[in-house]
């Protein structure tokens, strides 16, 4: 049905007959760089007739007679007068006003407006700033240079971006990403940053409310490069190579082999392993424990034992990781583009190819092709067509330090040997006792050993992505002041993941062995067929959007009115499926049938049964939105602007009454250019503008529903379908809303210092939050999620750019300062127990009156003088009753440290320029937040082999409590003692730090300065990233921006060139 609508509309729009009248048309460009000037006003002298140039600098005007004078004005440019006869083609060049604020055009995704006339809050990243970093991911390039934008990379594999803090608990936190006018539903890593022209970040309600319900987290508008009409042809070539050093594994708090072995010997004496030895599942025992058993059983002598153990004490698996698995990473980028335009056709064509090899030899490649064309058959009609094709591939390389484990829930022992002295790969203990694994082949099973340095060669994990992005649009200039615009976007991406476990991979051998059945006559049967295992999954994401809008631009006398109004339909369809093939033979493409229904006894323990893993899965999602919107700004005498925006969105939010599907959101704003007032006398401040906006944006969690819904599943044991209750009734479900107030001041001091200072309030309302409910109603958890929470936040964004020295030698400084605090203002506690709230700040555990990401701890007194036990408090009495601490500490008795995300952050960019040379440094800083460092948990060390270097500093004898806070080791271990210590106030550190984010060195040369240069312009650059922390508040040498267990990014150096022909 929806396809039909799209088709009908398309057919209706395309063949529109073009209305022809007698008029002139022309283009306004900047004299300095020939770039089109949008928003210039072209007035017919002696009349009220005014036209405003479009995004491409184009305008139309009806002429009353043949002798006319045109007055062309635009902010930031000297006015120009043209008398007839007018040249043809009519190209009006405007000279830039020197010392004036540069005209920054910001894109909202619906229109492009001069920042000067905007009331809302925008951060504009121009092409030069954007290219400061050579990262191959667009979003990473924004790090450290974008006013109001902060990164939460504590989990480096799933970074989050926040614009002006956070105002939701459970709904989506990420900003809306718009690529060329429409929300982008694909993988942002697919867009080649070298195709990007500029980026606008929409921060307040007035800026973002045009995006309605998806705008609460802010909007990042990405505009790619386009060709311009009447532009000479340009070819440019970009290339860069980045080398990232091996990660520093010493950063991770590994425990030494010697200490680990000493603990194992201690535990062995206590009989800790006796039960595991007898466990019918044959759980893995470490090589040292095996040696101790052999010695106990008289199979080796005490001397032999000493010898072997001493040798193992000197082994450090970290060395093997560095030697055999990690390597420097290399990333290459190439992009060739061609752009130009005649009077009727503008084009941009680009081809980019990137490839990279990661620290662990993951291979990544990306091919991107883009063509962007504007066709203007006559002055009234413009047709745009963009087509992009992206293809990427990712292949997993070697395993890293967290990928190689012993199995059965245990990490790797620190003295594991991955290879012998001659670099021949060695097996390590995996899943079962080594002696048991060795018996396998003797009894006719497959080899049951795991050799980490070889195993990855037998499996193939690859992901392929293909994406097509199509944009077509029509601009029809109905009259001088009215334009009809229609745009359509089609975006399809196909993803495919192949995980092939070869016949020789441990995964396959282990699965086959585990399921091997021994018959009474000792013959073997293999329910999991002997052969490779292939997991395939694929996904298809298709999004379509159609927009129609009327755009009105008119100025007369002292008035100016700019407005748009329109409607939009969007849908995003996502389907995926996965399946597994057993007994796969890639040579002849055959596979085997398995019986998923039988519960087979396991080879390693006949009393355990399991069914063969069944991996077939289908899922499908379809999100639909309809929107109506209008947005306008009226300016009087270039001094006062009033703006307003309204938008009504509706979506197929499930089960919601029709009248609750939609939500109207609005914003309003005013701005006042004070410096234009006649009474303004401050000569040193030649630009001063005050802005004030107010409005609402929305957010949504598409996973919630208003009615009880069920989810149909298949019981893999009985193979029967069933359904479970997925959501509980919530008749009052509605959209989350964020109210934003923004007050801004833009200023310029003699063109040397420019800046903006903004204060904002951001209040979240109707947020989904969890509240307690009587479990008797049928909810076991006693918790229900409804629109009942609210948050309140406020902050300051300051950005100042200063030309400290502006001669042949230039020194420019940019300072960005962002301050943001927020707290939950309304939410019932779902637990009064402190243990529910102690945390590391990595997840949102909301509590009224505190920031969303917060750090709470148990009170800490110190270590006991006699025993080295950690001491806490219950009811203000110091105690070592850990069970009572964990069970009976109310929230009010916890220590609240503060937020887990920075309240103050920003950057200081200094750029020195001399002739073609440029040196720039970026210092970033983050203040006012806390993190929990990791430490030893004896239970995890004993049972999971997860040691910690703090073990060295543990309390060992009375008096040690004065030099350390690491508790003594006790046996048997008390899990609650660990829980108390690792969540105590003692382990919380201030996150404040200053970092040298990057250093950039470049040299630019062009024909203007160097005649005879084979290229028109050449820029070469050297860029160093992650240069280290210059100052930090914590004394443990930790990087607070990366959670414990993760490696901070390593130093990376890139070299590149950019040539224009």
């Amino acid at each position: 049905m929806k396809d039909l609508y799209f088709t009908i509309l398309f057919i209706l729009i395309l063949p529109l007959s073009v209305i022809s009248q007698v008029r002139i048309s022309g283009k306004v460009v900047s004299a300095s760089d020939n770039n089109p000037i949008a928003g210039a006003s072209i007035r017919l002298k002696g009349t009220n007739q005014v036209s405003v140039s479009s995004e491409g600098g184009l305008f139309n005007l009806i002429l009353p007679d043949s002798t006319v004078t045109l007055i062309v004005t635009s902010i930031g440019f000297h006015p120009s007068e043209l008398k007839s006869p007018l040249p043809s083609p009519l190209i009006i060049e405007l000279e830039e006003e020197i010392g004036q604020l540069e005209t920054v055009m910001v894109s909202t995704g619906y229109e492009i407006i001069p920042k000067e006339r905007a009331t809302g809050s925008f951060t504009h990243i121009d092409n030069e700033l954007f290219n400061r970093s050579a990262d191959n991911n667009i979003l990473n390039r924004l790090k450290g240079i974008t006013n109001g934008l902060s990164f939460d990379e504590r989990r480096p594999h799933s970074p989050r971006i926040h614009i002006r803090g956070l105002s939701t608990i459970y709904a989506d936190q990420s900003p809306l990403i718009v690529v060329n006018n429409f929300p982008y539903e694909g993988n942002i890593a697919n867009i080649n940053p070298n195709d990007v022209e500029n980026i606008t970040v929409l921060k307040d309600a007035a800026a973002a409310s045009i995006w309605g319900v998806r705008a609460a987290n802010g909007v990042i508008v990405i505009t790619t490069k386009q060709g311009n009409l009447n532009q000479t042809e340009q070819i440019s070539f970009n290339s860069s190579v980045a080398i990232t050093s091996k990660p520093n594994l010493d950063y991770l708090p590994f425990m030494s082999s010697r200490e680990f072995i000493e603990v194992e010997e201690f535990l062995f004496k206590k009989g800790f392993y006796t039960a595991q030895e007898a466990n019918p599942n044959h759980p893995p025992l470490s090589p040292v424990v095996e040696l101790l058993i052999q010695e106990r059983d008289g199979n080796i002598s005490a001397d032999q034992l000493r010898d072997k153990i001493d040798r193992l004490k000197n082994v450090n698996v970290k060395d093997d990781f560095e030697k055999f698995l990690y390597q420097p990473a290399i990333n290459q980028q190439y992009l060739l583009n061609l752009q130009g335009g005649s009077s009727k056709l503008a084009y941009y064509l680009s081809a980019g190819y990137d490839r990279g090899v990661s620290n662990l030899d993951d291979q990544v490649s990306r091919l991107s092709l883009r063509s962007s064309n504007t066709f203007s058959p006559n002055e009234k009609l413009q047709i745009h067509a963009d087509l992009a094709y992206i293809q990427s591939k990712h292949t997993t390389g070697r395993p890293g330090f967290s990928d190689i484990t012993t199995g059965a829930g245990k990490l790797l022992y620190p003295y594991a040997q991955l290879a012998d002295e001659t670099d021949t790969p060695l097996p390590i203990v995996k899943d079962y006792r080594h002696s048991f694994a060795l018996q396998g082949p003797e009894n006719g099973l497959l080899n049951w050993e795991y050799v980490p340095l070889q195993d990855y060669l037998h499996s193939d994990n690859s992901t392929y992505d293909r994406e097509i992005l199509l944009n077509v649009g029509v601009d029809l200039h109905i009259t001088d002041y009215l334009t009809f615009q229609s745009k359509y976007r089609y975006n399809q991406s196909l993803g495919k993941t192949l995980n092939g476990y070869g016949m020789d991979s441990y995964y396959t051998r282990d699965l086959i062995n585990r399921f091997t059945q021994v018959a009474a006559d000792a013959s073997l049967a293999y329910p999991v067929p002997v052969g490779s295992i292939l997991d395939e999954s694929s996904s298809e994401s298709t999004s379509q959007a159609l927009r129609g809008q009327l755009r009105y631009h008119k100025s007369w006398h002292d008035h100016r009115l700019d407005a748009i109004a329109g409607g939009e339909l969007r849908e995003h369809d996502y389907t995926s499926n996965a399946h597994r093939t057993y007994g796969y033979d890639e040579n002849v493409l055959t596979s085997s049938v398995v019986n998923y229904l039988v519960e087979y006894p396991m080879y390693y323990n006949q009393n355990q049964t399991a069914t063969i893993p069944y991996r077939t899965d289908y899922s499908g999602k379809l999100d639909r939105y309809t929107s109506l919107y209008a947005n306008g700004a009226y300016t009087y005498r270039n001094r006062y602007t009033v703006s307003g925006s309204m938008r009504k969105d509706a979506s197929n939010l499930f089960g919601v009454n029709t009248n609750q599907r939609g939500v109207p959101l609005w914003s309003a704003g005013i701005s006042w250019s004070i410096h234009r007032e006649s009474f303004y006398r401050l000569s040193w401040m030649d630009y001063l503008k005050l802005r004030l906006t107010y409005g609402y944006n929305g957010n949504l969690d598409q996973n919630t529903t208003a009615v009880t819904t069920i989810l149909q599943l298949t019981d893999y044991q009985t193979n029967r379908p069933y359904a479970r209750v997925r959501t509980y009734p919530n008749p009052d479900l509605r959209w989350e809303k964020v109210k934003t107030v923004n007050i801004g001041l833009d200023f310029s001091l003699g063109g040397r210092i420019d800046g903006s200072l903004e204060y904002y309030i951001k209040d979240g309302m109707d947020l989904l939050g969890d509240a307690p409910i009587d479990p008797t109603v049928g909810l076991i958890s006693g918790v229900i999620r409804r629109n009942l929470a609210s948050t309140s936040g406020q902050g300051v964004d300051l950005e100042i750019t200063s030309a400290n020295i502006d001669r042949l030698f230039k020194w420019h400084t940019t300072l960005i300062f962002n301050y943001n605090t927020s707290k939950v203002t309304n939410l019932d506690s779902i637990s009064t127990n402190g243990s529910y709230y102690v945390n590391s700040g990595l997840n949102i555990i909301p509590i009224k009156g505190k920031p969303l990401y917060n750090v709470f701890s148990y009170q800490w007194k110190g270590l006991d003088h006699e025993t080295g036990d950690p001491i806490g408090y219950v009811n203000n009495q110091s105690t070592t009753d850990y069970r009572s601490i964990v069970r009976d500490t109310p929230v009010s008795d916890l220590v609240f440290h503060g937020p887990a995300l920075p309240t103050g952050s920003g950057a200081l960019i200094n750029t020195l320029t001399y002739k073609g040379f440029m040196l720039s440094t970026n210092l970033t800083y983050r203040f006012g937040y806390y993190f929990r460092r990791s430490s030893i948990s004896y239970g995890n060390m004993f049972n999971l082999w997860n040691g910690h270097s703090d073990f060295t500093n543990r309390w060992q004898k009375p008096g040690d409590e004065n030099r350390t806070s690491v508790p003594s080791m006790v046996y048997p271990n008390n899990g609650r003692r660990d829980e108390f210590y690792t969540n105590s106030a003692e382990l919380v550190e201030k996150g404040d730090h200053i970092r040298l984010q990057d250093v950039n060195l470049s040299y630019t040369i062009d024909r203007g300065h160097q005649a005879g240069l084979p290229v028109r312009k050449l820029r070469i650059f050297l860029n160093g990233q992650n240069l280290g922390i210059l100052w930090r508040a914590n004394k443990h040498n930790l990087d607070p921006d990366y959670a414990s267990g993760f490696l901070p990014p390593s130093f990376s150096l890139s070299f590149g060139l950019q040539a224009n022909f």
């Binding site: 979506s651 069933y722 076991i780």
Partner: protein, 455 residues
């Protein structure tokens, strides 16, 4: 503006506003559905074995005289599952360390049954759907009544006819509205609801279920019989035991089982009338929970159940091995022929009929080694009753029924019992008329709902 363009713009706006409804009516997640969309969905909800047929209340096993614990195991247990260790010494702090407990799980079943019941009221079945509609409605009533009955056994006092109209019962939630406030009905009202639902269910359910995890007529009769027995209405218990057995009375001959196997019995075996499993407390599992040695010794040498149900680790060191779910965990808690036969036998004995022993012998000849089985005889119904009760305890061990029997029999001077525990140097006693035969409602529930706590 030319008219054509104006109309197109109008069409645009009109189109966007009018088409919204259809456009937005599609589901956002293709696997999402509303229960009352169609009858099949309701059946799917009821076929959710892990929510509907699992986790039935079983705390009584820990509190009963079938289990004993060593001090060190009890202490370890108290560190990670206080409900288990506290139930063992009848400490009232139970159900407070986990959200899933003897109160919340049955009410979760009640909610789903209510969703289904509401669905059956909304959907009018066509002629060919009528059988499945009846099955669905009957099943939902059955599950709700079953859940209510387990709640009554835990949180309402042992039943007697005089006090039932004033004793507090349970919260009777009869619709899926989660915003309705909870209040406790009286014990009498609560049981009346259970019996009413079960009798309606029995009239709607089919004679033979498609799967043993679905209820049937004999299952409803069997459950009625079990609940009437628990409130000492032996006449009714006898009537419904008959109704059940007249439809289904298959027994398994244990002589045909491989008693040495870890799983001698099959899940969904021939004796099972309705299958469900009990909540698995760590306290059941060896080495935490061991079998009471007196109980173990009461199985004679030629009693095959000794080897089928138990593993002997050493003298006085007995672990539960396997039951009607196949293995040792989870435990079977459903309705099987053996239980109904024993109810029937007990009712007959209480009515003074010596033929009660015929039923018992029919069961026992399938339990004892066939070469050495000698039928039990007795000259007086009183002795017969004692014999039947002893066999009842042995046959239904670890089925979650012993606690109910203790509550019921403690009013009878012939069978009442004081249970004693020793942990470290402390001695704990549970007297026959002890208030602790009624469990306290979880704190979290009392706080959130405001319903009165038990004494």
């Amino acid at each position: 503006m030319k008219p054509s363009l104006f109309y197109i713009t109008l069409f645009w706006i009109g189109f966007l506003t009018s088409s919204c409804e259809d456009f937005l009516d599609v589901k956002s997640n293709k696997s999402l559905a509303v229960a009352s969309d169609k009858l099949a969905n309701l059946q799917l909800l009821l076929d959710n074995v892990s929510d509907i047929n699992s986790g039935y209340p079983s705390i009584g096993i820990l509190a009963s005289d079938d289990v004993y614990m060593l001090s060190e195991n009890w202490e370890a247990l108290s560190q990670f599952q206080p409900t288990s260790s506290n139930a063992y010494i009848w400490n009232p702090d139970v159900f407070n360390d986990a959200d899933a407990n003897g109160w919340t799980i049955p009410y979760h079943i009640v909610f789903q049954a209510n969703v289904v019941l509401e669905g059956t009221e909304k959907l009018t079945p066509s002629a060919h759907e009528s059988a499945s509609w009846r099955n669905i409605r009957g099943s939902a009533l059955f599950y709700r009544a079953y859940a209510f009955a387990t709640l009554l056994e835990q949180f309402s006092k042992p039943y007697n006819t005089n006090d039932a109209p004033k004793n507090p019962g349970i919260v009777l939630r009869l619709n899926p509205d989660i915003d309705e406030k909870s209040t406790r009905a009286t014990q009498q009202e609560s049981y009346e609801q259970v019996f009413r639902d079960l009798k309606t269910a029995a009239s709607l359910l089919p004679i033979t279920p498609k799967y043993k995890t679905r209820p049937s007529k004999p299952a409803a009769y069997g459950l009625l019989s079990r609940i009437y027995l628990s409130i000492e209405d032996y006449d009714q218990a006898s009537v419904y035991a008959d109704s059940c057995l007249s439809i289904y009375d298959k027994l398994i001959d244990y002589n045909l089982l491989d008693t040495g196997s870890q799983r001698p019995l099959q899940r969904y075996n021939d004796e099972v009338i309705f299958h469900n499993t009990l909540f698995s407390y760590a306290g059941f599992v060896y080495p935490y929970g061991r079998i009471d040695t007196t109980l173990y010794e009461s199985y004679r040498d030629n009693d095959l159940r000794r080897a089928v149900f138990f593993t002997k680790h050493g003298e006085g060191d007995i672990a539960y091995k396997a039951g009607y779910d196949g293995g040792s965990s989870p435990l079977f808690g459903g309705i099987a022929t053996d239980e109904i036969l024993l109810i029937k036998a007990e009712c007959l004995a209480r009515a003074g009929e010596l033929k009660a022993l015929d039923g018992l012998n029919r069961l026992l000849q399938n339990r004892y080694s066939m070469d050495s089985f000698v039928p039990i005889t007795s000259e007086n119904p009183e002795d017969a009753l004692a014999l039947i009760l002893e066999e009842r305890r042995k046959e239904l061990v670890f089925r979650g029924l012993r606690w109910s029997d203790l509550r019921r029999l403690n009013g009878d001077s012939r069978f009442k019992k004081t249970i004693v525990r020793r942990i470290n140097n402390s001695l704990y006693e549970l007297n026959p008329d002890d208030k602790r035969y009624t469990f306290p409602i979880p704190k979290k529930v009392v706080e959130a709902s405001g319903i009165p706590q038990n004494e």
